[in-house]
Amino acid sequence: MIMEGRLTFGFLLTIVVTFAIAPLIAILGYTFLKDGQFDISQINRMLEAERVWRTLGNSMLLGVLVIVGTTIIAFPMALIRTKTSLYRYDWLDIILTIPFMTPPYIGSMGWILFMQHNGFLQQLFPSSAWLTKTFFSLFGMVMIMSLHLFPFLCLMLKNTLLRINGSFLDAALIFGRSPWRNWTKIVLPLVVSSYVLGSLLIFIKTLAEFGTPATFGSRIGFQVFTTEIHTYLSRWPVDISMATSLSLFLLSVCLVIWYIQNLIGRKHTYGVLSGKTPAMREVRDKWYIKLGSWMFVGVVLLLSIGIPYFSIVVTSLQKVRGNGLQAGNFSFASYQEMFTGGSAGLSAFLNSVMFSVITAVVTAIIGLCIALYIKKGETKKQQVLDFFSLMPTIVPGIVFVVGLIMFWNAPWLPATIYNTKTMVVVTYCILFLPYSVQYTKSSLSQIDSSIFQSAAIFGRSKWDVYRQIIIPLLMQGILAGMMMTFIISMRELVAGLLILPPSVETGATFIYSQFEQGNVGVGMAVAVITVVMTVIFMFLLGWLQKRGGHENA
């Protein structure tokens, strides 16, 4: 086969190492090396700073609270989507991923505009003023982040519950005593392992999150790792070595958590995929269960989509922001300004589209090669490549970005891509390569090996087998991965803030900078357009996966 052999391995590994591992080594070097000598004074300086420990405390606390928050939302939601009559509404799945796809900083800006003193809530219901103070606290931050991350946990739990629904419950019904006992002895233990995995991932994602802490956290004076790193890098006075030390610290924390997660994953994973397909019985709910379920779904949708989007759309349409929600205070002026030829907002948006398309294509190609090589990850080499290509999911984005800046600014490099658009694309590719690898891998795992064998027997050339059989079969997975990469790239903020060359802005940095120095209305108009495009892509993605018949991809 083509994607085999040592040469391929060497080549793929080199790509991954040069682009994904070298930045991390650069961070190590910058932190520990001083004039070519090993030196730990940087680390000591960091560990002595009281702020660092406070930041660590804040990050950890936030992580734990967000796990609690996402659980409160995701668990009932997963049950509702599998055990009640609401299981039938597949469109709910797509709607429920919208909060996850919404750029977090836009979501929290929406919430801020809604909840602040004299915000939209108080304009609509003046008596609700007391809520403002409660909201602008850690509670509000946890709520915003939980509403953003819950779809992720919900999907994991839902899939596990669906699988258990099959033969396990049948067996339990036949041999078991009471439904209650079946639940505690069979369903719960099986769910727990996937819950623990999911919540640890939520924890890592919370630690790595930048958008919400940067917008909402700075408002309530709650500093976490990512915002601290960004502060040291982008605010005067700059302290680059502090930023790299902190990055290293954050990286270590994430690696430890990832290791724990792996241990648990290995010990407590049960084969829940059995021969029997999870046949769905017709579910008939009592009226109050039905009502309760719909109310729960309604409240979650209102909080996770309704409120932030209301603020965003209203702000983009307001003529005079100081006049609030008043008849006659609305116009399309911001949109007009945006679509006037060559406006900064439009070109920023188009830059985002361009970067995202290139990233999607490049990662799709590299991801395909890597996935074809890894196959099922049976040999050591395959596992090594698998591990490295999935590194960026464990390493927080900002750590990679810091590493890339260090690496591409190294004085010994003969040439650098720093301060060019190439740098942006390279950064995006590294950050989002795991998506395409995972999507392609999972659609590869669905191709039966007999296809390879029969193709080999009928004696076509290896190239033809790839071109005419394998690639077309994988196409759906590749396309889904590309679309996902595109959506995620469109919203990337922290990389843009730190590495964009002069005269180049992306949609995300444009929106962010409109809040800092410019016109919020136009910023929000760009946000609305970005989100509308994202939602269209998500429906396409859902349709694509349905056609491919693998919704779990």
Partner: protein, 341 residues
């Protein structure tokens, strides 16, 4: 077996590095070619902390007039300074425009700027705001005041200390000085010229003063009614918002305020020196100064009339010396951060 793998790996690594180096070299060649070409093909890189609209208008007018293409990085003063620091190994910027003369002076002291003494019309520019040796020119300035929401404010404040009163509790904010050059300038000038400055700041803190991001973010909180007043609000933003119909007004406290100059200078590592000089000339020219006043800023050249805003001599000023201020500013910033974060 293992060794062979390693060898292949190494070869691949070298090949890739070479390929990358190749790409990079091409890039370098390109830029060299560009600078050898006639002026209309030149590219000038400007890092500018300016009001968005102004920076863009200047860029456009300059490009039209000279045919030099401008690559612009816009950010707050803090962002630009940190970007310069991060890029020390491979500098890109030719011209830097900062919203703080003290920071500009700091760049001069660490010899990151070069002198351009014979800039056209330099003699007309306010000498308090510029360097005597021509390292930077204060081409414009903004006066810092109290920007307040006209709908929610019953009693207009007359002085800084008024904001420590109870009716302003939890209703005041200040731009974050580590992001906003003008806010640092304010703290510096206020702390130096006013005996009770730190005491007043303490009172503000007890009165719920919020540190609110960059300048526009702080002003937006006042515009939307989240807060009622911004301390050290930049006046040109308030005038602009007012012109757009927002319920905002700015006042200058009677005991005096800080006028924060914005300066332009040419970086020592600038690759396009001639173009950079033309850019400085343009900012100091009558045409450039008019663009400045159109953005509601105070012009560096006093002869240019301002419109719809208070002129320089109508603003009660604290006496501030900007030369060598950077170290003191850093100290004040640290003290402020310890107090508020």
């Amino acid at each position: 077996m293992k060794r062979r793998g390693l060898k292949l790996f190494a070869t691949a690594g070298i090949l890739l590095t070479l390929a990358l180096a190749g790409c990079g070299n091409k890039e370098v060649e390109k830029t060299e070619k560009v600078s050898a070409q006639p002026k209309e093909e030149q590219i000038l890189t400007v890092y500018s902390a300016g009001p968005d609209g102004l920076a863009a208008n200047i860029q456009q007018a300059f490009e039209e007039k000279t045919g030099i293409k401008v690559e612009m990085f816009q950010g707050t003063t803090g962002k630009i300074l940190s970007r310069l620091e991060a890029e020390k190994n491979n500098p890109v910027a030719d011209v830097v425009v900062l919203a703080s003369v003290a920071s500009m002076d700091g760049l001069k002291e660490t010899s990151q700027l070069q002198s351009y003494q014979d800039a056209k019309q330099a003699e007309k520019i306010n000498s308090d705001w510029s360097d005597a040796e021509g390292y930077y020119y204060g081409y414009s300035a903004s006066a810092l005041g109290i920007a307040y929401n006209t709908k929610n404010t019953q009693e207009v404040p007359t002085d800084w200390s008024d904001l420590a009163k109870e009716q302003w509790q939890n209703k005041i904010n200040i731009p974050d000085p580590s992001l906003s050059g003008s806010a640092v300038d304010f703290l510096y000038g206020y702390a130096l010229a006013e005996k009770n400055a730190w005491k007043t700041m303490g009172l503000w803190k007890n009165n719920g003063l919020q540190v609110n991001g960059a300048n526009k973010e702080a002003l937006d909180a006042v515009i939307t009614g989240d807060k009622n007043a911004t301390i050290a609000g930049v006046d040109y933003m308030a005038y602009k918002a007012k012109a757009d119909g927002e319920p905002v007004e700015i006042m200058y406290p009677k005991s005096g305020t800080v006028v924060s100059p914005r300066a332009v200078g040419i970086l020592k590592d600038a690759k396009h020196i001639e173009a950079a000089k033309e850019y400085v000339d343009f900012l100091l020219s009558d045409e450039g100064q008019k663009l400045v006043t159109d953005a509601y800023l105070l012009p560096g050249n006093k002869e240019i009339p301002v419109k719809n805003r208070a002129a320089l001599d109508e603003v009660p000023q604290l006496t501030v010396n900007w030369k060598g201020a950077e170290a003191d500013q850093l100290e004040i910033l640290t003290k402020f951060n310890d107090m508020f974060r």
